[in-house]
């Protein structure tokens, strides 16, 4: 098992290196750079060239790559061109917002998605089954921002329970975290639908297996059979939860835009439009670390949840 986990670590580092090299090249392949953007349409070609020099963008690609990797090995992500401060400070400012949003959405989607899925699978064709199918069809075919607007219209504009924007001007705090309920629900809706469909399918699969038939023929109560089915169906969902987390990270980009949340998604988009290379690189590296880390955790969780996987090979 240790060897397995170590192997995972090596593949994490390799993945990181490949991704960051790709990102390094991709952001620079975009036409224009930070000097072009800062210059806008009013600056002369000479002053843009001057800015380019002073921002260190005039160096050759290979020189930039060497200093980027060199700094990174020492844990330095460089300075944001736009904010003129270390990228790590930028990320530390933004991470709590995205993490809170993703965590809230994750919990909401698991609770609602799995509950719906189990209820639907245990009674195919029943009320919950139809509800789940209907919900999943709607939730997966409409874009996130649409739900965001609907939730704002209903709960912020009509009912006045929430502010329109996701956070007060003072930012994220314990007192203001309830503001993030609407964005979290928005983000959770498609994930919950996915989990509901998946849970339903897994339960249906288990229902037709031999042990369920045996249990039923033994005269076990429906509730106890349900519990057996749930405990066998759920571990198979764990790796998918990890994939869902990846989806959550990309989903936050859209949801942060709609609700004006100052998270990593907004930073990434702003970084791309400003051609703030270090910020784009930093956010991507962080996202990859989170994504790969979560998948690794999911592997470990599955090892713990499913005794069969722990057997010596």
């Amino acid at each position: 098992m240790t060897r397995y986990l170590l192997g995972q670590l090596v593949s994490l580092v390799l993945t990181l290196w490949v991704v960051l090299t790709l990102v390094f090249l991709a952001v620079r392949a975009l036409p224009g750079d930070a000097a072009t953007i800062m210059g806008g349409i009013d600056s002369s070609a000479e002053s843009i060239a001057e800015m380019r020099r002073s921002l260190g963008l005039a160096a050759t690609l290979s020189d930039q790559y060497v200093s980027f990797v060199g700094d990174l090995v020492q844990g330095d992500l460089g300075d944001s061109i736009r904010e003129r401060r270390p990228v790590t400070a930028v990320l530390l400012d933004r991470l709590p917002v995205t993490l809170t949003l993703a965590a809230m959405a994750f919990v909401i989607s698991i609770v609602f998605g799995l509950a719906l899925g189990l209820a639907a699978g245990l009674r195919p064709g029943g009320f919950f089954d139809r509800l789940t199918t209907g919900f999943a069809t709607v939730a997966l075919s409409l874009p996130e921002f649409w739900f965001g607007f609907i939730l704002i219209l209903v709960f912020a504009v009509q009912l006045g329970w929430f502010p329109v924007l996701g956070l007060p001007p003072t930012g994220l705090s314990l007192r203001s975290s309830w503001h993030m309920l609407l964005p979290a629900v928005t983000l959770a809706i498609p994930r919950a639908a996915q989990l509901a469909r998946l849970g339903r399918a897994r339960v249906l699969e288990e229902r037709s297996s031999d042990y369920v038939r045996t249990a039923r023929s033994k005269g076990l109560s429906a509730g106890r059979i349900g519990r057996h089915i749930a405990s066998n169906a759920l571990p198979g969902i764990v790796p998918l939860l990890a994939l869902e987390l990846g989806g959550l990270l990309t989903g936050t980009i859209v949801v942060e835009q709609v609700f004006g949340l100052p998270g990593l998604g907004a930073t990434l988009l702003g970084g791309i439009s400003a051609r703030d290379y270090p910020v784009v690189q930093g956010v991507t590296i962080l996202a990859v670390v989170i994504y790969v880390g979560v998948n690794w955790l999911a592997d470990v969780t599955q090892l713990i949840a499913d005794p069969r996987l722990r057997a010596p090979a």
Partner: protein, 493 residues
């Protein structure tokens, strides 16, 4: 006893709550930095206007008036500007003096600062500070646009002590403005608080909170819930909603925008002025203004409507597809001629205008192919050196001085349309140097007439600067031409 103290405290809290007035504004764009000397972004100056002051500033009438310089004079040869400073202090407590002005101007001229506006100050040869309240700026040649530069956001005066220590104005600005910078949570909000001893008198509101809300639909919703007192971007389609709501006020101030479809005059038939005039005649500019930009006044040359520099005899081209077809046939343009039309995202209004141009051109047998490109790509590939376009739609923001709009036109490499005309170039160069107002008006007028005839653009027109406020908001205004926000007289009743 204890109770009485509690009651007193509660009363005090209620009183202070009642009197502390916050004005919240939703703003679509976001500053890149609050250091006024390292940016050219309108969004940066929209906010920094409240934090810093300039030596002179534009009034509501668009005329440059004294500000930190209570008075100023220009020598007869136009080579020396003398400014007399008011008595005021920076937010860090140091007093404003002539050394601050000198240090500020020297910083913007320094190569190391890499200011995008550096070239506007390069005629300065020396700065004298005979006493703490007098500054004399000497120029190598007359530069009538200098006052306009000093009145713009990038002319903001910074404290010399902080400049000397390399202070980070970008993230924690310090100026003499009516509001002190409190905090900036990027992509969320900037909070400013009013100072009581502002040299022009204390602002009416105690606090200004600027929220960054890129989506105009969300700006509108926040107005409806009362979350925002002012929203700076109202989509043309949403104006009726605001206008019919008694709790809201739709405001339209004059803007300095010149909306155009630029043509690449080096390409194909576009090098023929007859073809460019035909394209102007083929497009109904008034309809484009009404539908895409929420209304506006058509223009006939490269200067915003209402500008004192715009000669009265230059008429818009008008809509005449018949004549357009005749001109195109004369120039030998084949039916189905195809044009490449990149349009900048996320500027929905420009994209919509481009789609309308496409429809109008189809009527006269020209096939414009639209490509939506991201803003940075547009700047680099369309506006920048590559100039990979046949026709594109954009708005040129207002400038206090016509040189800001016109410099580079007439010189092939100096402007993205490639418009090349030695006479125009000479006129514009003379306008930038000559001090005599009447002569300036004459040369710029002639240059604008030539630009009208050469038609390197489809001249659409100038829209109003539309924004919405709660009905109880008074005294807030947006500086003409510079488009910066002025909260100094704003109040909520």
């Amino acid at each position: 006893m204890k109770h009485r103290i509690l009651i007193a405290l509660a009363l005090a809290a209620v009183v202070s709550l009642a009197s502390a007035q916050t004005l919240t504004m939703a703003m679509a764009a976001q500053p890149d930095t609050l250091d006024p000397q390292v940016t050219s972004a309108t969004a940066a100056f929209q906010v920094s206007k409240s934090i810093y002051d300039t030596l002179v500033e534009v009034g509501r009438d668009g005329v440059i008036a004294p500000a930190l310089a209570s008075s100023y004079s220009v020598s007869d040869d136009g080579l020396a500007y003398t400014f007399n400073l008011v008595t005021t202090t920076f937010h860090d407590g140091t007093a404003l003096d002539s050394a601050d002005v000198k240090a500020t101007l020297e910083r913007i001229m320094a190569e190391a600062t890499a200011s995008p506006k550096r070239s506007e100050f390069m005629a300065i040869t020396s700065i004298d500070t005979p006493d703490p309240s007098t500054v004399i700026v000497h120029l190598s040649e007359p530069q009538p646009a200098l006052l306009a530069s000093l009145a713009s956001g990038w002319g903001a005066i910074l404290p010399s002590e902080k400049l000397a220590e390399g202070y980070d104005f970008g993230n924690a600005p310090v100026g003499t403005g009516a509001f002190v910078f409190e905090s900036w949570l990027r992509d969320n909000a900037i909070t400013l608080s009013a100072i009581a001893d502002y040299y022009l008198g204390a602002p009416q509101v105690d606090e200004v909170v600027i929220r960054f809300v890129p989506d105009p639909a969300i700006q509108l919703l926040g107005l409806l819930t009362g979350e925002f007192d002012v929203a700076d971007t109202i989509a043309a389609a949403d104006r009726p909603t605001v206008e019919s709501n008694p709790a809201l006020t739709m405001v339209e101030e004059p803007s300095g925008l010149a909306l155009v479809a630029a043509m690449n005059t080096r390409r194909d038939y576009l090098s023929d002025p007859r073809v460019r005039r035909a394209i102007n005649l083929a497009v109904d500019s008034q309809t484009v203004l009404d539908v895409a930009y929420g209304g506006g006044t058509p223009i006939g040359t490269f200067m915003e409507a209402g500008s004192p520099w715009l000669p009265a005899d230059i008429e818009p081209y008008g809509y005449d597809p018949e004549q357009a077809r005749t001109l195109l046939a004369e120039a030998g343009v084949p039916d189905g001629w195809t044009l490449d039309m990149p349009l900048p995202q996320p500027y929905d209004a420009h994209i919509q205008a481009g789609q309308m141009v496409q429809d109008y051109l189809r009527e006269v047998g020209i096939n414009a192919e639209i490509r939506i490109v991201e803003w940075g790509v547009w700047l680099s590939d369309v506006y920048g050196e590559a100039r990979a376009f046949d026709i594109t739609v954009i708005g040129h923001t207002g400038k206090l001085d016509p040189s800001g709009r016109l410099d580079g036109y007439g010189v092939e490499s100096g402007n993205y349309t490639g418009y090349d005309d030695l006479v125009t170039a000479d006129l514009i160069a003379e306008g930038a140097r000559v001090s005599d107002l009447a002569r300036r008006q004459e040369v710029y007028g002639e240059a604008l007439r030539r630009i009208h005839d050469a038609a390197p653009f489809i001249f659409f027109g100038t829209p109003g600067r539309a924004y919405a406020t709660q009905a109880n908001v008074e005294g807030f205004w947006i500086t003409p031409l510079l488009d910066s926000f002025d909260f100094r007289t704003a109040s909520k009743n």
